[in-house]
Symmetry: C2
Subunit: 362 residues, 2 copies
DNA sequence: GTGAAAGCGCTAACAC
DNA sequence: GTGTTAGCGCTTTCAC
């Protein structure tokens, strides 16, 4: 750690040239066994670890793939923490907790799972993963930085503005993940949001005798949300159910926003069905309904979208559409790897199938 | 992407030397505004992004920090997936789901949260994060690789064998995360496992009139598990409760293993309390108890450890000890950053406080 | 099978 | 303020 040994150190110790050291590490068979062993011993003795930077420079590839997420935490909202400064706090505190807290994590679960899948697939191909999160405006700085350090980049839809995306794509292969395809210039991976929501809507309409559900939408800028809304509309149209009859409520994908909508539902009279554009909000609706003693699915049916674990544990359990999150991450890396192998190939768009999960709430 | 522009290209286009280009990027104030603008324009026009490898080599620092986890997925258990090959699957399928499935994710949540915290703190300090996962034996290859690419490494306890840890530490600063401290050669960050479990045990003993709980242990090689067991024993000793009276059951940290233990509990007669070394298993116990109509906490009290969200949603909600997972990740990076600033400082060990969360189950 | 030498793209003295 | 130049640690022809 004082000063890391280099090929030169290893070469000297083994009594060979640096070229031979390099060969031993990269093409062991091209070196006579005796020589090879001497070099390997020197490597071990010195604790030699090749410099990724030097390798990357010489090889013109880094062996690193990047994954870039939209910010999940506002820059202003970062709680202070300084483990070096304080430290005199006791080893534990005791708190009493009653109701379930709003679970801020669930929204991150999608990203976590994608990350898992991406890491797995990157590893299988001999790459390591670099992860970045877009925060505020210098966000662009982070992703540009990453572009300079990786062989390819997976970018979640909505994390990078279009012009920047083009710039990045000029530097390294880029795969856009989730949302609808945006032009045909980039590789793209997504799930069947539209078809999944349409199928779910058909199921709900069948249950409610075709009466129009209330739709609980998410933030306007959610690409996936838009696709789900599309699927909902399409199924309605197919069933001959006029879109005008549909009441649309808006939330921000959090459980508490769903809770508020649920309370309003109760106040204004229950519809036959409430279809939420994500699970979190649906769970919030269920919370409010449960508190008011409403019978789900007896009085109305409720559905979500995503397939988070909490939906399987709620009462009643939540009917939803499950997206293959981990597979999404894996697929993105697979597509990226293909692009690396075949730079000239036409950009592709892959759509992964979803699962309509019928449970208690509908 | 055909061939990325370099400083030379930028310099030529702006009519300056490469040194000036470098200056504009690193110390803009050291360059006359007119020159600076010309360079910046050239950068924009060309879509120039500096090579991380070249920078890293010249600067002798990469600006990357590494985070290395123990494997969460067995190499054999990786489901096949090839999005490039198949593709003719329908856009969705419909499934019916009744009971809650075993939630394999919960065990990863800890890692996910640590990762979140680490990424956040790395970003705040101008670093980007590289993540790796130990799998099988060439695992060592991954982490060595990482060591060659980063300025510092956070390694989860149990992910790297001791000798390899020493080698890594020779190359880059290393912070060990979780578990008990292992010698005093490395920086170390953990939570108050022992004290937390001791406090919880005292609470349980108070409720049960000092009758010995059944202890549900995890895998033997879990460093955190060992600390929790220690805390349990300490509290028992303090209370004058003989350890011989304690029945110990073993699980593997999964919900289903907890369920099995719960069933056995019912078959063999209920104790006054069941204390599990993690939440997942405690939830499994609750599942079994619930299915058998046992009243918790009336007939016996149950506790967990970790503070996962599912514990707040179970019936009854789970009394547990919450570890500050995200803060752990942040703390690890903070300690790593300190080490980078002060290479000579004595290795430190930071212990984060935990929260004893009293809920319905005890 | 092995060595000498020319880069890879950048930073940082050091001159001017 | 700006240009020249010498590395940073590795891979990879090209000779031998």
């Amino acid at each position: 750690m004082t000063k890391a040994p280099t090929v030169y150190d290893v070469a000297e110790r083994a009594g060979v040239s640096i070229a031979t050291v390099s060969r031993v590490l990269r093409t062991p068979d091209a070196v006579r066994p005796a020589t090879r062993d001497r070099v390997l011993d020197a490597v071990t003795d010195l604790g030699y670890v090749p410099s990724g930077s030097a390798r990357g420079l010489a090889e013109r590839r880094t062996g690193v793939l990047g994954l870039y997420f939209p910010g999940f935490d506002a820059v202003e909202g970062i709680p202070p923490l300084d483990v070096l400064a304080d430290g005199q706090a006791g080893p534990y505190t005791v708190v009493r907790e009653d109701g379930p807290r709003d679970d801020g994590r669930a929204s991150m679960l999608f990203q976590d799972e994608v990350l898992r899948g991406a890491e797995l697939e990157a590893w299988r191909r001999g790459f390591v993963l670099m992860v970045g999160v877009g925060r505020g405006d210098p966000a662009t700085a982070t992703v540009r930085d990453m572009a300079g350090r990786v062989d390819g980049l997976v970018v979640l839809a909505g994390s990078v503005a279009d012009p920047m995306l083009e710039r990045l794509a000029e530097r390294v292969p880029v795969v856009v993940l989730a949302g609808p395809r945006h032009g045909d210039r980039h590789d793209h991976v997504t799930v069947s949001n539209t078809e999944g929501m349409a199928a779910l809507t058909r199921h709900v309409l069948a249950r409610t005798g075709g009466r129009a559900p209330v739709y609980l939408a998410g933030p306007d800028d959610s690409p996936d949300g838009a696709q789900r809304w599309e699927g909902f509309c399409a199924a309605l149209a197919d069933a001959g159910c006029p879109l005008d009859d549909v009441v649309v409520r808006h939330g921000d994908f959090t459980r508490s926003s769903g809770r508020r909508v649920g309370e309003r539902l109760i106040a204004e009279g229950l519809p036959a069905a409430l279809m939420s554009s994500n699970d979190q909000m649906a769970l919030g609706v269920l919370d409010a309904l449960h508190a008011a003693g409403v019978d789900v699915p007896g009085d109305l049916v409720v559905t979500g979208f995503d397939g988070i674990d909490a939906g399987a544990l709620s009462t009643p359990s939540l009917t939803t559409v499950r997206q293959p999150m981990r597979e999404l991450g894996r697929a993105a890396i697979q597509v990226l790897a293909r692009r690396l192998d075949a730079p000239g190939a036409a950009p592709m768009s892959v759509r992964l199938p979803v699962e309509v999960v019928l449970r208690g709430s509908a």
